[in-house]
Symmetry: C2
Subunit: 189 residues, 2 copies
Amino acid sequence: MDQIEDKRIAILDATLRLISKNGFHGTAMSKVAKEAGVSAGIIYHYFAGKDDLMDELYKYIKRKFGLMINESFDQTQPLKIQIRQMLGVMIRYYIQRPLESTFLEQYTRSPYYNSEIDLETSQYYMPLLKCFQQAQQEMIIKDFPEPVVTALTLDVATSLAQRHAAGFLNLTDELIEQVIDACWEAIRQ
Amino acid sequence: MDQIEDKRIAILDATLRLISKNGFHGTAMSKVAKEAGVSAGIIYHYFAGKDDLMDELYKYIKRKFGLMINESFDQTQPLKIQIRQMLGVMIRYYIQRPLESTFLEQYTRSPYYNSEIDLETSQYYMPLLKCFQQAQQEMIIKDFPEPVVTALTLDVATSLAQRHAAGFLNLTDELIEQVIDACWEAIRQ
DNA sequence: TAATACTGAACGAACATTCAATCTAGTTGA
DNA sequence: TCAACTAGATTGAATGTTCGTTCAGTATTA
């Protein structure tokens, strides 16, 4: 029972490794099979096709990420602290997982991406959105539409982690704190 | 002489249209030829191959964008006004040109992208970087590394324009001004 | 008449996908 | 206990298609 899940995950992991190295168009199914140590045919036992494999990989990573964010949520803290903590967690997570973050960036900008895909995984991100909503109700942060808040905080985090992974920037703990300060200044009331 | 430039540009424009619809991997050379109204072979007269075509398209768009930014630069204004103006110009430009911005986003996240590509076009962005540098020297904005300043301002602009184009958000003139305010709060000293 | 622009059929490589055959592990029945 | 059976897992060669690229030949321009 565990073994069949293992093989599915081995295929997903192999896909992740190849895509962040070669992109979608450089990732052939035969190469995924080789990288995962399985035969080419078996991929179609676990996935409907290449598109489905990509979609499932996205969901798999998004789910892992969402669970991790939920874990590190401390709802006893004041909202300001919660938001700042969450930003720190995100930046550090992206830095520690360049393969994952590279893939997410590529996927969300590709024609594979559609908003329906996020429906299943969006539940994991509820606490995060609720956090922003409550902060808006309490007039702690500005009353921007949700995508604007995201752009000013979460997207900054992914953008910086990307540059860090590419070697354009060295994100030290001190600099991360300063970036969190800056994001907070952007959204605070 | 003009005619050969016209055909080159027709090919670039056709490539742009197809990529923002189908992505890199869904954009075949034969389809580019059809879309541009030329034969398949002639593309290889103007470009060394598919990779070169993509690189040249990136440079072409970056150059157009850079020239436009330079035009709208008013160096008689105080630095704060200059930076805010520039952000407004960027956001509006991206919104008005969804094909271009979608392509830039996709390309810079793809394995095609390498930092050497930007060398040729980076000259057009000098005034912009100089503007930030001077503001840092005059202690008007925080002394962040250049990629951090970019993430907190230009990347926010592209990220929002993307969401606007995708229909997740309606960027009114009023909201754009508020976003510029927020970006400014993030970087100001 | 020479150089350059252009065509489109042709080619080989790469690719996603299929499938008949084989293997594996779990279940049944005597 | 074990042979027979079965269903799912797995293989990898084969298939048909698509794609990037080439090139011999034709048109255009100066």
